[in-house]
């Protein structure tokens, strides 16, 4: 019966999630979020009271995340602690993440060792600890809240920093190793391994009266650890037979380090096995153990639990006190051991860095997450926190435009389809004014003026009258771009040019040069930067959502009607220029995909350095109908761009950009995934980007007008236009040569 109810419930949940847009892997993750949430909330209903928090879980191989948990209010002998810091045990946690031998916990797994925090509540029968006390707690999971036996907790002495006190369990582990060595004052000690366990063992051995000391590590990076305790430093692999140490502490976790450890000991000496060997030791020098009457002692902390059970007392607390008192008096230093503070939301990234060796030691700083977010308590029936499929990313409002007394006065030249759109954008702008309209076909100009205002003038010369207008928006066939830009620049007008900048690279360079020489602003109409999803993506990428760029893919699919080639999409203006390679400069690449090249450059912040392209020109045509480009970015990232002017079905386009930390997708569905903790995003989940309609051409005009009026460079600079042109130029050169071609770098001064 229960099984049936559960099955129905699950099916209902799936249906709901499907309806909300979750499918495939997203569905799986959302399902898990609901289950974790339900488990925490259900658990709470069995408690007389609880504190909500977050805990780290490894639900599957290679993935770590935070889930909601409830810590019950303390019962007899217990305390509830708001954890501020949880220490990472680099060796063990790295081994568990990589699923090394002896380190393959059953999943889901809740990692964690040691932490420190503030006491929130104290149960009956607890003495010596009060609400508000700072305590160090061994054996706790990585979580923002925990209810534990009060006897586990050790009060942190005044003046001891929390991040150091949080190492308490690691210090117990190392302290147990030192204790098992049976060290007496003046004995020489050799410590192999310079992770936190080895480093703490060295400090505790020093505090216990060790004499000469040697620290052995794999890299010179750890040399400082030796000087802290006045020890000699030795690089691993250099031989240790001359050490003749009374005591050797093996703290590497490397099963093959036992040979070096034995070599470092004097005859009749003691070797303590403190690091957990991850694998079989294939060559334990057994004869040497005998011949030199050595003692090999295993000192895993679980053996201390056996000792405690047999001998009574609290040996854990004793070891913890030695450490905390040592920190208080300065006999033990740990300021260099806590490592890097990590936002717990970035736990997945932390494990990856630990595994790849780019992070030595670290701790989770729970205070990086606000109390409200840690608690996430919104009533029993409130929904679990899922990435919203509507607008989890705060929509970026249209960029503010200052109101100005004098709007920028525009002429529109070229009144075809796109000229009409551009005229409309100007007349809707708050800081621009449509004053003059011109087209070589007067009827087209009349139609625009009738709809959007402005006075029709019969000649280009009259349109570019500096006394009447400040700027011109050119929407003419590509082959006219450069000469008209030069003419407008000559007249001292600021210029908006419908993309592309020009028909080819030499004319684009000439156009930019002309504008620069005249000191006028020149901007290419790439307005899609202002669409809601790309704008949000740009902001998030600037905030580090992707990290270093790794790759990108662009797909553009259009199904252009045959009439397009003779009169554009509407047929208002009859002209065959789009069919002519000489007049248009090319097909789908220069005509349509330039928008995506601009977005790709702008979002990724990277330039494409080299391309290899193939294209299909249909029989009887001059310009390409299909094109495919393989690209290499400056920093080594790779990309592909595929475009089609005749793919049947609903036109669609899609951009994917991915980097070391995340992926962004823009298209019919726009979303972002990042392992970084960024405001407004769920970490390590897909987050839908906003998708509402924005009048991007109007914003483009307004931003341009504002830039001109404030005397700064437009958002889309002439350099941007030239960089896109350089890309297109390299693509067409590659199509012609059949070889990879370099994209001409666009200089900063352009």
């Amino acid at each position: 019966m229960m099984g049936r109810a559960k099955a129905l419930g699950l099916r209902g949940t799936d249906a709901l999630l499907n309806w909300r847009g979750y499918t495939g892997r997203d569905l799986e993750l959302a399902r898990r979020s609901i289950r974790d949430w339900a488990r925490a909330r259900l658990g709470r209903s069995f408690m007389r009271g609880s504190v909500a928090g977050l805990a780290v879980v490894i639900p599957q191989v290679g993935r770590a995340e935070l889930i909601p948990v409830e810590a019950p209010l303390p019962r007899f002998g217990q305390i509830t602690v708001e954890i501020l810091i949880s220490a990472i045990s680099p060796g063990t946690e790295r081994a568990q993440w990589l699923r090394r031998p002896n380190a393959q916990p059953t999943l889901p797994f809740y990692p964690g060792y040691s932490g420190a925090g503030r006491v929130l509540a104290v149960g009956k029968g607890v003495t010596g600890i009060a609400e508000g006390d700072l305590v160090a707690i061994p054996r706790i999971a990585h979580a923002s809240v925990a209810t534990v036996p009060a006897k586990w907790a050790l009060r942190i002495p005044e003046g001891v920093p929390t991040d150091q006190a949080a190492l308490v369990y690691l210090a117990m582990i190392s302290g147990y190793g030192v204790r098992r060595s049976g060290i007496v004052g003046g004995e020489s000690v050799c410590i192999i391994g310079a992770g936190p366990i080895g480093a703490l063992a060295a400090r505790l051995a020093r505090a216990a009266g060790a004499g000469d000391m040697t620290i052995v590590a794999r890299t010179r990076r750890h040399e400082g650890l030796a000087s802290v305790v006045g020890a000699d430093f030795r690089l691993a692999g250099q031989g240790l037979a001359d050490r003749a140490a009374d005591i050797v502490i093996e703290a590497t976790g490397d099963p093959d380090a036992i040979g070096a450890a034995i070599a470092a000991a004097r005859d009749d000496g003691t070797i303590v096995l403190l690091g957990s060997p991850r694998g079989i030791s294939n060559a334990v020098p057994i004869v040497e153990l005998k011949r030199r009457r050595l003692r090999l002692v295993g000192a895993h902390i679980s053996a201390l639990a056996v000792e405690a059970k047999r001998g009574g007392g609290d040996p854990f607390a004793e070891l913890g006190k030695i450490f905390l008192d040592g920190l208080r008096t300065g006999a033990i230093r740990a300021d260099d051991l806590a490592g890097e503070a990590v936002d717990p939301r970035e736990i997945g990234l932390m494990y990856r860095r630990l595994a790849e060796g780019s992070l030595d030691s670290a701790y989770l700083d729970w205070s990086r997450i606000s109390r409200a977010e840690r608690a996430q308590r919104r009533g029993f029936l409130a929904a679990p926190r899922l990435p919203r499929m509507t607008s989890s990313v705060q929509r970026q409002a249209s960029p503010a435009v200052p109101t100005i007394p004098q709007p920028l006065r525009f002429a529109v030249v070229g009144c075809g389809d796109i000229g009409l759109s551009n005229a409309r954008a100007i007349s809707r702008s708050s800081n621009a004014e449509l004053v003059i309209v011109h087209d070589s076909v007067p009827a087209l100009a009349e139609a625009v003026a009738n709809r959007q205002g402005g006075t029709v003038v019969p000649t280009l010369e009259q349109a570019l009258d500096k006394n009447l207008v400040d700027a011109v928006f050119l929407s003419v066939p590509h082959d006219l771009h450069a000469s008209m830009i030069a003419e407008a620049a000559d007249r001292g007008l600021h210029i908006l040019i419908e993309k592309p900048l020009a028909v080819d690279m030499p004319s684009a360079e000439a156009a930019v040069h002309a504008a620069k020489a005249a000191g006028v602003a020149l901007s290419v109409c790439f307005p899609y930067r202002y669409e809601a999803a790309p704008a949000a993506a740009i902001e998030l990428v600037r905030g580090g959502a992707l990290g270093e760029l790794r790759g990108a893919s662009v797909t553009f699919h259009a199904d252009k009607p045959q009439s397009y080639w003779h009169g554009g999409f509407s047929g208002r203006s009859t002209s065959d220029w789009r069919m002519s390679a000489e007049r248009s400069g090319g097909g789908v690449m220069i005509m349509n995909m330039t928008h995506f090249i601009d977005l790709l450059r702008h979002i990724s912040g990277s330039e494409i350095a080299e391309v290899f392209a193939v294209a299909e020109v249909r029989p009887g045509q001059e310009v390409e109908d299909q094109i495919a480009v393989t690209a290499r970015f400056d920093g080594g990232a790779v990309g592909t761009l595929v475009g089609s002017a005749s793919s049947r079905g609903i036109p669609q386009s899609r951009i994917e950009i991915w980097g070391e930390h995340g992926t962004v997708e823009l298209g019919a569905k726009s979303r972002i995934y990042t392992e970084r903790a960024l405001s407004g995003l769920l970490t390590a989940r897909w987050n839908e980007l906003p998708g509402e309609e924005i009048d991007v051409r109007r914003i483009f005009v307004e931003r341009f007008a504002a830039a001109v009026l404030e005397g700064r460079e437009p958002d889309v600079s002439a350099r941007d236009g030239l960089a896109v042109q350089a890309f297109v130029d390299a693509v067409y050169r590659s199509v012609a040569s059949g070889r990879p071609e370099a994209v001409a770098p666009v200089s900063r001064s352009a």
Binding site: N102, L273, I286, L289, K290, R295
Partner: protein, 101 residues
């Protein structure tokens, strides 16, 4: 390698000790230890003195001795090195291996 030295190397005098091997050294150790060397079906020994030197016997001794126990290597050894799972068979259980000659 003599019996008194071996017994002196053991950490303390309490607990049951198991002798592995049938040679004269094993015999002498058994004689000296008396009741403490008597096998017990339920309780694992707190120490094992291994006199055969066989790798399998060493591994078996490590697995038989109680947690925190001691294994004394008192046998002749043919190979210079052996392969051991030091994590499960020594580290986690807090065992001590003592070499004597």
């Amino acid at each position: 390698m003599n019996a008194p030295d071996i017994l002196a190397a053991l950490p303390d005098a309490s607990g049951r000790i198991e002798i592995v091997g049938e040679g004269p050294l094993a015999d002498e150790l058994r004689t000296r230890l008396g009741d403490r060397a008597q096998p017990h079906p339920d309780a694992p020994p707190s120490a094992v003195i291994e006199t055969t030197g066989a790798t399998a016997a060493i591994v078996s001794a490590l697995r038989r001795v109680e947690d925190l126990g001691t294994v004394v290597l008192a046998g002749p050894h043919a190979s210079k090195t052996v392969a051991l799972d030091l994590y499960s068979d020594v580290h986690v259980r807090g065992l001590t291996i003592i070499g004597v000659r």
